[in-house]
C-alpha cells in the first residue's frame, strides 16, 4: 500500500500536504500527531471516504484513488466502533462476508473463528448495547478482520477506553496483529500508545509528515523540533554553533554553558556551520543531577520542584536564562540535597545530547507547561 504525493485540500485549507510513503505487508504502522494534523484524513483516503485532491492512493499496486470504499479491500475500526445496534454480535460480524455473497455456511465458520480470535465466542447472540466498551471494541475488530482485508485501518480505537483497559487492549491489539499477519494502520494522538505498539511511526504536524521511523529512531533521533517535543518529553536548549568539525560540534547554549556533541548525534540535514541557530536536546532521563559541577559538560540551575513518583523522582529546575528543565532520576538515588531553591548541576553522558536545526518556540522541557501539553493533545 502506498500514498503517492497525496494532497487533500478543503477550500483554502490543506489538510494533508504531499503524503508520500509506503506501508509494507504485516507491519504495525502508526500515524501520530496532535488533533487536526491530518492523520485521520490520510486514513479516510486509504479507506476511500475521501479522495486526494492531487496525488494517488495505491493498494497492492493498483491506483484506487477513485474507487469507492465498498470496493476496497481494506477495513476500518471506527473511533466509536459504529456497531450496528439492531443486530446481534454475530450478525454484525457476518455483515461484511454477506455483502460479499459468501455462502452462509462459510460465513458461520468465519464468524465463529473471528469471535474466538477476539475472545468473544460466548457473546455471539448479544446486542452491542449489552457489551462493555472493551468488548464492543473487540467486536468492531472482529467485524473488520473477518473480511480478510489486506490492511486494517484503526481510527483512535482506544480513545474511548479508560487507562487500564487501554493498556490491556494495546497488548491485545498487537497479539491480534501478529496472529492475522496483515498491516495495521493505526491513527492516534497518544505517543505512548504509538511507541508501545508500532513497527514504524509517521509523526505528523499541520498536514505534513515530519518523520517516519521506528519508535527508537523517532525517540532518539527526531528529525525536527516538533518531533523532538512531541515524542516523550525533551529538554530543548537553544544555542549557537561555536565551532564544528567532522568529529564534534560545539554549541554555546543560551543557558550559559558550552556543550560538545559528537558528530553522529546531529539530525540529518541540520546546519551546524559556525554561527547557526541550533537546539540541543537532552531527554530528562539522560540528565545526571549532582550538587557540584561534574567533569565534562553540565548546566547549572536551581531546583523548583521535586516530585517523588515511586520508581523515579522528577525534578523541575530553572536555568540561568529562565528556561524550565526537567530531569528524571532513579527513585532510590540520594536526592536529599535537592530542595526547592537549591543549586543543581545537570551533566550527561558524552553521547547523550543531540543537535537539531532551529530554535524551539519555548526553551526548556516540553511537558511541564500545561498549556503546551494541552495544545499538543
Amino acid at each position: 500500500m502506498r500514498l503517492d504525493h497525496a494532497t487533500k485540500r478543503y477550500g483554502d485549507f490543506t489538510a494533508v500536504h504531499e503524503a508520500n510513503f509506503g506501508i509494507t505487508h504485516g507491519e504495525f504502522f502508526s500515524l501520530l500527531g496532535p488533533s487536526g494534523c491530518g492523520k485521520t484524513t490520510i486514513l479516510k483516503m486509504i479507506a476511500g471516504f475521501e479522495q486526494p485532491t492531487t496525488g494517488r492512493v495505491l493498494i497492492g499496486g493498483d491506483d484506487v484513488s477513485a474507487v469507492p470504499p465498498h470496493k476496497r479491500n481494506v477495513n476500518t475500526v471506527f473511533q466509536q466502533y459504529a456497531l450496528f445496534p439492531h443486530m446481534s454480535v454475530a450478525d454484525n460480524v457476518a455483515f461484511g462476508p454477506r455483502n460479499h455473497k459468501i455462502p452462509e455456511s462459510e460465513v458461520a465458520t468465519r464468524v465463529a473463528e473471528m469471535l474466538s480470535v477476539v475472545r468473544l465466542a460466548d457473546f455471539a447472540v448479544r446486542r452491542p448495547a449489552q457489551l462493555s466498551g472493551g468488548q464492543q471494541q473487540r467486536v468492531a475488530l472482529a467485524r473488520a478482520l473477518v473480511n480478510y482485508p489486506s490492511a486494517l485501518l484503526l481510527d483512535e480505537p482506544l480513545a474511548a477506553l479508560d487507562l487500564k483497559l487501554r493498556e490491556a487492549m494495546q497488548i491485545e491489539l498487537k497479539r491480534i496483529q501478529r496472529d492475522v499477519g496483515i498491516a495495521f494502520v493505526f491513527v492516534t494522538h497518544d505517543q505512548g500508545e504509538a511507541l508501545t505498539m508500532s513497527d514504524r511511526i509517521a509523526v505528523m504536524s499541520q498536514g505534513r509528515v515530519e518523520q517516519i521511523g521506528s519508535p527508537t529512531e523517532i525517540y532518539r533521533r527526531p528529525a525536527t523540533l516538533f518531533v523532538a517535543g512531541f515524542i516523550g518529553s525533551a529538554n530543548l536548549l537553544p544555542g549557537t554553533v561555536a565551532s564544528s568539525d567532522a568529529v564534534e560540534v560545539r554549541v554555546s547554549l543560551a543557558a550559559g554553558a558550552t556543550v560538545t556533541v559528537p558528530g553522529s548525534q546531529v539530525a540529518a540535514g541540520a546546519d551546524v556551520s559556525a554561527g547557526a541557530k541550533v537546539t540541543v536536546m537532552v531527554r530528562p532521563e539522560q540528565f545526571v543531577a549532582s550538587a557540584s559541577p561534574s567533569h565534562g559538560d553540565s548546566i547549572k540551575s536551581s531546583v523548583t520542584d521535586v516530585v517523588f513518583q515511586g520508581a523515579s523522582v522528577r525534578l523541575v529546575a530553572r536555568t540561568g536564562d529562565g528556561a524550565e528543565v526537567a530531569a528524571v532520576v532513579a527513585g532510590d538515588a540520594d536526592v536529599s540535597f535537592l530542595r526547592p531553591g537549591a543549586g543543581v548541576h545537570f551533566g550527561w553522558r558524552a553521547d547523550a545530547p543531540y543537535v537539531l536545526s532551529g530554535w524551539p518556540a519555548v526553551a526548556g522541557a516540553t511537558t511541564t507547561d500545561v498549556d503546551r501539553v494541552e495544545a499538543a493533545l
Binding site: A47, F49, P68, P69, H70, K71, N75, T76, F78, Q80, A82, L83, F84, P85, H86, F95, G96, N99, H100, R127, P128, A129, R143, A144, N147
Partner: protein, 274 residues
Amino acid sequence: MSAATSTRQRLGRRAVNTVAGLGLLYVFLPIIVIVVFSFNDPVGKFNIEWQGFTLKHWADPFAEPELTRALWVSLRIAAVATVCATVLGSLIAVSLSRYDFRGRNGVNLFLVIPLTAPEIVLGSSLATLFIDRGVDFGYTTVIIAHIGFQVSFVAVTVRARIRGFDWTLEHAAMDLGATPMRAFWSITFPLILPGIAAAALLSFALSIDDFIITFFNAGSLLTFPLQIFGASRVKIPPQINVLATMLLMVSVSLMALGAAFGARRRKRHGVVAG
C-alpha cells in the same frame, strides 16, 4: 421546616393537582361524551340527549350509507396521501439531518410555513390555483392538498426523531462492502423506521381529521368530516359516535403498540435515534 410552610406546600401541591385535573377533564370530556353517546338510544334524528343504553348501533355501525361512504373516501385519501407524504417527508428529513447543502436553511424555513400558516390561507390559495389551472375538484385535488401539509409534518417529525443519528454507521456498512443503497436499507432504514412510522401514523390522523383545507378543495366529494358537518343540520345519527369511537380506538391502540415497541427497542439496543 416550620409547620406553616409545610401546610402551605401541601396546599400548593393540592392546587396544582386540581388545576391539572381540570385541564385534563377539559380535554377529555368531549371525547368521553362522544364515546358514551355511541351507546345512546336516541328518539328522533339528533343524538344529543341521553335516553337509554343500547348496543344496537355498535351491532350495525354501517347503517348510514352516506356516512359509511364518506368514511371510506377519507380512509382512501388518507392512505394515498400518507404514503406519498411519508416517502417525500422522510427523504427531506434524512437529507436535512445528514447533508450540509446550500439552501438548507431555506428548506428548514419553508418546512415550517405549512405548519404555522392558517389553514384557511393554505386551503383557499390552493383552491385558487386549481381553479386557475382548470383542475376539477375531487380525489386528486384533496390528495394533493393533504400531501402538501403532511410532507412538512412528516419531515419535521422525522427530523426531530433522527437528530443525533450516528451516520458513521453508514460509513461502517460501506467500509464492510455494502453498496450505498444496501447500507441505507440494511442499516439506516431499520434504525429510523420507528420515527418514520410514528410520523406516518400522526399524518394519517391529520388527513382523516382535516376539515378546512379539504372543504376548499373537495368540490362535491364528501370526506368523513365534511359529511358529518353537511348532514348535521338534518340529522346526527349515533353511527357518527360509533365510527368516531372506532377511529379513536384504532389510533389509541396503535399509539400503545408504538410505545411498547419503543420500550423494547431501547432495552435491546441502548439509546438509538428513532
